[in-house]
Amino acid sequence: MARVPPAVRLRQVTKVYAHSRVEVHALRGVDLDVEPGEMVAITGPSGSGKSTLLHVAGALDLPTAGELAVLGEDLRALSDDRLAAFRRRRLGFVFQFFNLLPTLSACENAALPLLLDGRGRREALARGAALLERVGLGDRLDHRPDELSGGQQQRVALARALAGDPALLLADEPTGNLDSEAGARVLDLLDEARRAQGLTVVLVTHDPGVAARADRVVRLKDGRVDQVTRPAQPGDAP
């Protein structure tokens, strides 16, 4: 049986920031495979390179060295426009601070990747509305972000991440700015989407409770993989 290629494959990936006089080695040779459908949680102390890893895997930033393949694509070979299209169509992002566009309605925000992709406005907004319905915000379509609570905003962000029917969802501390109840609601919705769509998820978190929902927990330290653990799954034998 042919092995399915991993959704994310990093080999000796390094990332050096050299904007200022001091060079910052954010990643120092990371090896990581994420299997399709898997949910991986990245943890580690602040400044250990979690966000950098996510950005690199999410085609927002390119590694300084190393091999990188996401959903079978060698990101380093793609032009900037191709990368943008890749993010639009294959990836979804959820950020700690929601990052909704303040002037757009919830529905427009959710439909944004489709609008950017040049889909018809009506079609895009219909899909946005359907997604908002799915995350329980069917009655908030025309609200602007500042009229929504944090948890609601993050659910809009989740809807936006799912709009392009992505294969890979990347989330940087998606519950970091939410109370536990709202956070749990977002994570439940995420799980639901995973199950429904066979989504692969890479999620950065500080919260052991959140990490416990993952198939695997990768702990970073000083830009290196420090430890990989498998949380006890509900189905595991005691």
Partner: protein, 878 residues
């Protein structure tokens, strides 16, 4: 506290060089237009004034006789007055030099020379006139040469002239030859007037060459030691009043008494005033915009400073010090730029003034001390003033609130609405004033225009945000970039509105002037067809009859013209500005210049269809017959003079003549666009008698039946062009040139307003750079969820184009309102022209399209910067 200015305020300059450069450039351009306009105006006025002062530097008193001059016969009596040390007659004329190809294209631009006629043989007179002003030192023996001329060194150098060499100038009988009798270094006003192109002739020779003989332009009088100027002036006045032909003369200190040259430059000054007002308004907007952006960007920093104990006064000082520094740097640059600009535009001003008002050939634009001072003050003042509102708004909030990145949205909305209410009130007030008044003086008119432009500017932010709100669904249909562009403008209605307002005012000013020009053109086109009926026009030194013409001996040149095959008749025309005093029915006495037009008035009745607005017997021919019956007591006037002065048929107009005041009765009013100061038509023989002036500016020619005007004109050019410096123009070409003059009267204004538009476009760049910076995080999100660089770029460019399109659309309305006020109230009130307002559709459409395109172009730089953002960093904020 001072220790903070460096790190907090000025370090920003290094951190944000682009914004600093834009702000300084905006200040510099605004100041440059202001300075250039003022310098041009002053140079024109001062140079005209200097022609009047030339060679009178040593005089305590001047006897002058207006256009007619001072009879030389009076000199002995003047010299006999007690306390008079010397009385020096002076003649000052401009003459053109022959060029190699007199019919060629360069002929119109041939240099002009100031010719001074002085009494070189009278040592006392020479002392007064020549001593410290002209700088002539003289070897009397040189005057024994035939037709001797003392030439200024710059002129001699340019022409390669050495003593005893001959040279030619055009004079009243065509080419006249002179011999260099000496070379001198010019000084004083004479040197400044033509930049050293100066020739001094013995008085008799000057009068023989340029005429009229027996009359000097003025007589400079110096006082004996200990004599009292007032006493001597009284003595001179008594002599003058008693002498035959002395009644028209005045005795005054140099420069006093006569009408100021500035009063002559009517529409030119109007145009320049409008241009500089608009430049100031537009510049002020740009500065306000840049400073408020600076303050907003610094809110968190201000919050921190407040939190650690800085007082509001500290921070206000800090911010205003920065504004002051930018203003000072911008002002200094603007001063230099303004000087360059003024020099570049000087040729246009020379041509315009020479065409319409008086011979002007200024070679350098000069900035006087007051212009330099005002220019240096304008920048800092404008920046500080413009900074006050944003600084106050930033400092009246609590430290906690200040630390938030954005000012609360509601306050901006409320401010925009409040300003709109004030703007609407100003517009309503202006409209009311417009309806209530029939005509307005220049200061009133300026106030009306400021009311309209200012009201519209205050209303613009609100109107812009309403318009964008309405347009958003449409833009959203074009794609997410359209919606986001609209949103970016809506988030900061004030900032976008200020940018729109500035561009609108700049463009509206252009459209207002265009409307005036179109209205004048339409009126003049109709009029020209009715009035310009001769087959051929001839004038010396300039294709049109103008104040810059070399005056020709009317009889001699008329005879020469009639000798040419095919010429049936030739009518000489003489026109000259002279002081005219009128008394309106209500008793309002007005003194000012009017253009005295002298020609065979029978011509007007026989050939033209000039529109009549009032006549003693209802018609043109009848009224002209009445004038010709008693030309010594009747004249016609132009309807604009009648209207501006509030007089009509049956009233009298008092003209200053060498013989004293002459008050003929007005029997006819006709439409005339020759001068905004109005015209008085005098039958030619009457003019010659009263002014003792046998010269002509131009000739109207008719060809014999069957003769081809083009062939006759070609023949005239060939035979007389080089001899008299004569420009020969056929009817159709002449009509076209009249329209060119109408348009040309506002070229400088247009040029200055184009700069104002440039300033406004800089405002577009500033605004977009700022909004893009503030939206860094949003732009990062856009990119993260898959927007391409092109889409980001398009968002910003759409935003810019939207600003331009709104400004263009609003300017179409503002331009109409300002143009209407200009044409139907200011020009009509001040100059008496009853014009029908013509809206400049073409310019409005072009202007709107161009504003949109240019604004989009101005968005290119901010768009590129936004597109180049690194996604990850943008997501983190800044």
């Amino acid at each position: 506290m001072r220790a903070l200015v460096g790190p907090v305020a000025l370090r920003r300059v290094r951190l944000e060089p682009g914004r600093t450069a834009l702000l300084v450039a905006g200040v510099a351009l605004g100041v440059a237009v202001f300075v250039a306009v003022r310098a041009l105006n002053q140079t024109a006025v001062a140079t005209l004034g200097k022609v009047g002062q030339v060679a009178a530097g040593g005089a305590a008193l001047v006897v002058e006789g207006g256009a007619g001059g001072v009879p030389l016969d009076l000199l002995p009596a003047l010299r006999a007055v007690e306390g008079v040390a010397a009385a020096a007659p002076i003649v000052a004329r401009f003459a053109r030099e022959p060029v190699a190809d007199q019919a060629g294209p360069d002929a119109a631009d041939a240099p002009r020379v100031l010719v001074l006629g002085l009494d070189l043989l009278d040592p006392a007179a020479r002392e007064v006139a020549a001593g410290r002003d002209v700088g002539v030192s003289l070897d009397p023996a040189a005057l024994l040469l035939p037709r001797p001329a003392l030439v200024a060194a710059p002129f001699a150098r340019r022409r390669g002239l050495a003593p005893r060499q001959p040279f030619e100038l055009f004079a009243r009988e065509g080419r006249a030859s002179f011999v260099v009798a000496g070379v001198f270094e010019p000084r004083g006003p004479a040197a400044e007037v033509t930049g050293g192109d100066l020739v001094v002739l013995p008085l008799g020779l000057a009068l023989e060459a340029f005429g009229p003989e027996g009359r000097a332009d003025r007589v400079a009088v110096s006082l004996a030691d200990g004599a009292d100027a007032d006493g001597v002036a009284a003595g001179l006045r008594a002599v003058v009043a008693a002498a035959p032909g002395g009644a028209g003369l005045r005795v005054d200190a140099p420069g006093a008494g006569a009408l100021q040259p500035g009063a002559l430059l009517g529409t030119m000054q109007l145009g320049l005033t409008i241009a500089s007002l608009l430049a100031l308004v537009v510049g002020q907007f740009l500065i306000y915009n840049a400073m408020s952006i600076a303050v907003v960007r610094r809110r968190p920093e201000l919050g921190v400073l407040r939190a650690v104990g800085a007082s509001r006064a500290h921070l206000a000082l800090l911010l205003l010090a920065e504004a002051l520094a930018f203003g000072a740097v911008g002002s200094a640059l603007g001063l230099g730029l303004g000087a360059l600009l003024a020099d570049a535009a000087l040729g246009l001003v020379n041509a315009q003034v020479t065409q319409l008002y008086a011979m002007l050939d200024a070679r350098r634009a000069t900035l006087d001390a007051s212009t330099v001072a005002l220019g240096l003050l304008a920048g800092p003042l404008a920046t500080v003033l413009a900074s006050v509102p944003p600084v106050v708004s930033a400092l009246t909030v609590s430290p906690v609130e200040a630390a938030r990145k954005d000012p609360p949205r509601g306050r901006a909305d409320r401010a925009v609405r409040a300003l709109a209410a004030v703007g609407a009130a100003a517009l309503l007030g202006s409209a009311g004033w417009y309806v209530a008044s029939a005509g307005q003086s220049i200061p009133e008119g300026a106030l009306l225009l400021v009311g309209v432009a200012g009201g519209a500017a205050l209303l613009a932010p609100w109107a812009a945000s309403r318009a964008v709100t309405l347009l958003r669904p449409l833009l959203a249909r074009l794609g997410p970039t359209g919606a986001l562009a609209a949103d970016a403008l809506l988030v900061r209605p004030g900032r976008a509105g200020v940018t729109v307002a500035a561009l609108m005012v700049a463009l509206g000013g252009v459209l207002a002037i265009s409307g005036l020009v179109r209205s004048l053109e339409r009126a003049v086109t109709t009029w020209v067809a009715q009035v310009l009926v001769a087959d051929i026009y001839c004038a010396a030194s300039n294709p049109l009859g103008s104040q810059g013409n070399t005056l020709l001996d009317a009889e001699q040149v008329q005879a020469a013209l009639l000798e040419v095959e095919g010429v049936a008749s030739a009518y000489p025309i003489r026109f000259v500005f002279e002081e005219a005093t009128t008394r309106a029915r209500g008793g309002d006495e007005r003194r000012g210049q009017a253009l005295v037009m002298a020609f065979d008035l029978a011509f007007l009745g026989d050939h033209s269809r000039i529109p009549v607005t009032a006549s003693v017997d209802g018609g043109l021919k009848g009224a002209i017959a009445r004038i010709l019956e008693r030309p010594a007591d009747r004249v016609a006037i132009s309807s604009n003079l009648a209207r501006a002065r509030g007089i009509g048929v049956g009233d009298r107009v008092t003209l200053r003549t060498p013989e004293g005041p002459w008050s003929p009765e007005v029997v006819l009013c006709v439409v005339d666009y020759s001068s905004e100061h109005g015209c008085v038509y005098v039958d030619l023989p009457e003019y010659r008698r009263r002014w003792s002036d046998p010269r002509a500016n131009a000739f109207d020619l008719f060809v014999r039946p069957g003769a081809d005007p083009a062939a006759v004109a070609a023949d005239l050019r060939r035979r007389l062009g080089g001899r008299y410096d004569l420009f020969v123009t056929e009817n159709a070409a002449f009509r076209r040139q009249v329209l060119v003059v109408v348009e040309g009267a506002f070229t400088v204004t247009y040029a200055m307003q184009v700069i104002a538009i440039g300033v406004a476009l800089l405002g577009v760049v500033t605004t977009l750079l700022a909004t893009a910076l503030e939206r860094t995080r949003e732009l990062g999100v856009l990119r993260a969820v898959g927007a391409t660089r092109g889409q980001v770029r398009r968002t910003i460019v759409t935003e810019a184009a939207l600003l331009g399109a709104l400004a263009g659309a609003f300017a179409a309305g503002l331009g109409a309102a300002m143009g209407l006020a200009l044409v139907t109230r200011i020009v009509s009130g001040q100059y008496g022209w009853d014009l029908e307002y013509v809206y400049p559709w073409g310019q409005a459409l072009w202007g709107g399209a161009l504003a949109t395109a240019l604004a989009a172009l101005a968005g290119a730089l901010p768009a590129e910067r936004a597109a180049r953002l690194e996604v990850v960093r943008a997501l983190e904020g800044e």
